[in-house]
Symmetry: C2
Subunit: 610 residues, 2 copies
């Protein structure tokens, strides 16, 4: 089955998907999370999109929910309409579970935007001989707020007051006067939120006056040359005497490069960026602060610092306004970092009465369960499998990766970038295993059956390859693969997936036990992180990765870590909230729990739950 190109507006993101893929899913693959409160049931009507080019017929459900005028003008529901031919689709802001949408969970309206960076334009009276007044006191009296003044600002004060004829804009950040600028510059006030992942860096430029997102840039973490996961990065700081410095400079230079790109794209000056917020896992945050993370690699996985760090950007080598601050979010534990705090903040889990679950699968898998009374969190090293590590032909979700597998009469798959397949990424593996479970190629114990045991059709049977190490399943024939070598899901890959999903599922069970709640008590499951966005809920549930909860209760929250960092930029209250979250969230060290292994063994099985 050939892939079809779908292009989304605004932004012109294109993806190739299998025919029959819902717009909702295709958009997800393009990194656009469409709001879907009813879980794709076609009942809430919130996922309205508009077909600009291409032919997509309205379904009967859409005919009930949408008006005739809407339908004739091309409006469809993203969860119902399937892509069957090349198309261009407009996704309006109201349908985007975008950062802006996520933000509304933390910030309800513009009135709530009160960044820790603020500006005030003042026209000062010049001192006279009869009433001399220190320059700094002139400002203190004019702004009527108490503040600390940075020495660098004081040093420039005399010149700037003369040059500006005593008409200046004061820039305050976190109780400090960080800049005095000539004339009225209150209109230009920017900040950058960073999500620093082990694998991926995401930077967002925000207008701190309006909350508007001006530019976004995503890069691969260049530290990757020193190791794929946090443990190998930490080991690098131990084995190489300049390891920490090397990692630090890699990341700080990349962040500067991203800031430069963001500024260029938005047409702003980096000196008008007055704040950076950084959310990352504990190791990344330690490295960004140039603090050795080595204690994180050995029992008891101790943090050097858990609390938030407010630090001058120049002390971290970050090039923005010269006296601006960087806010690095607080952590929770050695493997539950500021990114998880940001996720909790973005989902506002800590504010609600009902119990919610966050599953954030990045290079590590962090899980959080709780409400406004109690929050508990745990971490598993389950992530790498989902990012292709330890999988025989595994790869990251980049061009050439099989990201979707459907098995009916034969195997169909979709490849990112619409090229010949090169390997399989996490979602492809989950799909593949889920489909193989459904067709009976994989049994409940995770064993790939032999050809003779398989009762289905011949197209599938021929793909079961028996080896000494167990059976493999042929996904792509050699001639169709980029490398001309066939692509398999091996028995070992299935076992890796079992280990990974069991770790996460067992972690969730432990947290549930700790809070004394069952699946039924969980009102919502938030899937966060890049991986979470592309996962197919039914298949994730089929393999037992996520709890047996109805699909409408499972929400994709996109890059919630980024969203949390953005919230921090937009409201000083949110900084305080991150501290509360960090202090209130109880960390459970799964490896120290005697009941973890039992749960882990139970969760190894593929007992379909729905």
């Amino acid at each position: 089955m050939s892939s079809i190109k779908a292009t989304f507006k605004p932004g012109n993101c294109s993806v190739y998907v299998l025919s029959g893929t819902s717009i909702l899913e295709a958009a997800g693959r393009a990194g656009i999370v469409i709001t879907s409160p009813c879980g794709g049931g076609g009942t809430c009507g919130k996922c309205r999109v508009k077909i600009l080019e291409g032919n997509i017929l309205a379904t009967s459900i859409e005919e009930k929910i949408l008006s005739k005028e809407d339908i004739s003008s091309g409006v469809r529901l993203a969860c119902q309409s399937k892509i069957t031919s090349a198309c261009i689709i407009d996704i309006p802001p109201t349908s985007r579970e975008s950062a802006q949408q996520i933000l509304t969970k933390g910030i309800q309206n513009k009135k709530e935007i009160k960044p820790s960076v603020w500006k005030k334009y003042i026209e000062l009276e010049k001192p006279t001989l009869a009433s001399p007044q220190a320059n700094l006191n002139l400002i203190r009296e004019a702004v009527k707020t108490s503040f600390h003044a940075d020495i660098y600002v004081i040093r420039s004060l005399s010149a700037i007051l003369d040059e500006a004829d005593y008409k200046v804009t004061c820039v305050f950040s976190d109780g400090e006067l960080i800049s005095v600028e000539k004339g009225d510059t209150t209109g230009t006030d920017y900040g950058v939120a960073f999500d620093i992942g082990t694998t991926t860096l995401v930077g967002t430029l925000l207008d701190l006056n309006t909350g508007e997102e001006l530019a976004l840039v995503s890069r691969t973490n260049p530290q990757i040359i020193y190791g794929d996961d946090v443990i190998s990065r930490i080991n690098f700081t131990i084995t190489d005497k300049d390891g920490l410095d090397k990692l630090f400079y890699k990341i700080s230079r990349e962040m500067n490069d991203m800031i430069s790109q963001l500024s260029k794209e938005a047409g702003i000056n980096i000196h008008n960026i007055y704040k950076v917020a950084i959310a990352g896992n504990s190791t990344m945050q330690h490295v960004c602060l140039r603090i050795t993370p080595k204690s994180l690699a050995k029992i008891p996985f101790n943090l050097v610092i858990r609390e938030p760090v407010e630090i001058k950007a120049k002390k971290l080598g970050i090039d923005i306004n010269s006296d601006a601050f960087v806010y690095v979010l607080p952590s929770i534990a050695g493997f539950v970092g500021g990114d998880t705090v940001a996720c909790i903040l973005a989902t506002q889990l800590h504010k609600k009465n009902d119990i919610k679950l966050i599953i954030d699968i990045g290079t590590n898998g962090e899980i959080v369960l709780g409400n406004n009374k109690r929050i508990i969190a745990a971490s598993t090293a389950a992530g790498p499998s989902f990012e292709g590590a330890r999988i025989s032909q595994g790869m990251r979700a980049t061009i050439g990766a099989i990201e979707k597998v459907i098995i009916n009469e034969d195997v169909e798959y979709n490849v990112i970038g619409n090229t010949a397949p090169f390997g399989i990424c996490g979602t492809g593996l989950i799909d593949g295993v889920a489909e193989l479970l459904k067709t009976g190629v994989i049994d409940e114990t995770g064993r790939i059956v032999s050809q003779s045991e398989y009762k289905g059709n011949e197209n599938i049977r021929r793909r079961i390859i028996e080896t000494e190490k167990g059976n493999d399943f042929l996904l792509v024939d050699g001639h169709a693969a980029r490398s001309k070598r066939p692509i398999f899901i091996s028995q070992k890959d299935v076992r890796e997936l079992q280990l990974a999903k069991a770790a996460i599922a067992a972690g969730i069970k432990i947290l549930q036990k700790e809070l004394n709640v069952t699946d039924k008590d969980i009102s919502e499951v938030y899937l966060a992180g890049a991986f979470g966005n592309f996962i197919r809920r039914t298949n994730a549930k089929r393999i037992g990765l996520i709890p047996n909860i109805s699909s409408e209760k499972i929400a994709f929250v996109g890059n919630a870590s980024s969203s949390g960092a953005k919230l921090v930029l937009l409201s000083c209250d949110m900084e305080k909230e991150t501290e509360d979250i960090s202090n209130q969230t109880h960390y459970i060290e799964l490896s120290a729990r005697s009941d973890f292994n039992e749960n882990f063994m139970n969760e190894m099985m593929f007992s379909e739950k729905k």
Copy 2:
């Protein structure tokens, strides 16, 4: 009359004085201020000293005040006993109006020593898997006080805890954790107080645990190559584009050199110096902070910053403990700086009900009048004359300067260092003019009379030299002078002294008028600064430099600026007090007062007051 050598113990300071000079005065010349509450009247008995070598007969007053045993063991009253032959004299700490004595005005006893720098030794419990704990939190819980942690300390935390087996000493300064040290280092806690004068720098090393003064060093301000007074220094920052940087590096390097010398003398490590306090005039303080002082040179003589500055030593290039703070005292106005605030603090003028007057004559002359209800201050540029500037043969009070003049049958004088005279310093000039007034060589208007007008003896008459520009008075014949040129007090010199003393006296009058007090209402006059220490009260009153107040009410308070800076090091309450003083002291700009000129003209006359 030949000079006699007097040596003081402990310390072995020697000076040469005229025969008949009181021990009190001789000690003052050696920089030792002997406590003298009764003003040298021989009634209080507080100025006890002991003659170790040499013969000084007890006076009848001493026989009344002191016991026979005391007298026979060599005890004398410094105010009564006159030096008539070479001698060695012990001045016990109880008789010294030393820094320690001054400190007792601000700090009554050791219990009041509570420096802003303090240490705490803690033995931490190592974190476990069951209860992991961030390193920094371990410390927070152990010290039970809230603090900010410097990033540099956090970065070193992991290594130091491992190395010290979790037994460490935390060093706190001003609410910040500035250092974590291996083992128990609570015994070593030092600070350096600097008095940064335009001409002279004084550094004192203090033990912050005990308040003890460990070493003292005094240097000439090396900025002097860029100008003698603050105005020429400020002009240098305007005319030379790197002027401020040049001045800044000159002073910061010299301070480092002084710190190094202090540490060597006391045998301590500079890394155990955790705080520096700096008191100086406004220009010096601005330059120390690398803030341009140029606004101080033009109307309205505006400060850039009046408030105190708490700043990391490394930001000022000062080499002490790497995260230590420097406290730069607040100022009052463009020409009433942190040194004056320090003087007020040291004398505790701001705490008492009765009205006191501080006269601090350095390169500038600052005057302060007030009590715990109201304090007013003013500045005059009168200082330079007293430091030899603008005086025809004027010089600083260094070797070769005539520092004392007595005129009876002929002229007697004393030269610093007991060498041939080279010129005349401020105290010598005051003495000379006062004696010439007494003998009638100078009349009430300040005119040096002609030979024919003079009615006294021939020895004096022959010294009146008539010139076209008025009459001069020959102090030293050419053959006796080092340069083989005669040394005069010229008519112009008398005029300069008149201008200078009139400025200070008129300033005092304005302050008195402002507070509505007369000379009688002033309970005490504090003479501060190096110059103040050497001045002879009777002569200063005779020429009208200081108010007509009985001598026992006039106290020498030594380098009160240094004393104030030391107080700040020894008690964090004193930092707060400097701010209160800065805020409460009302500055009077004399040049903006319409009544200044009238007072100034009145004070020009030499109408003897007592």
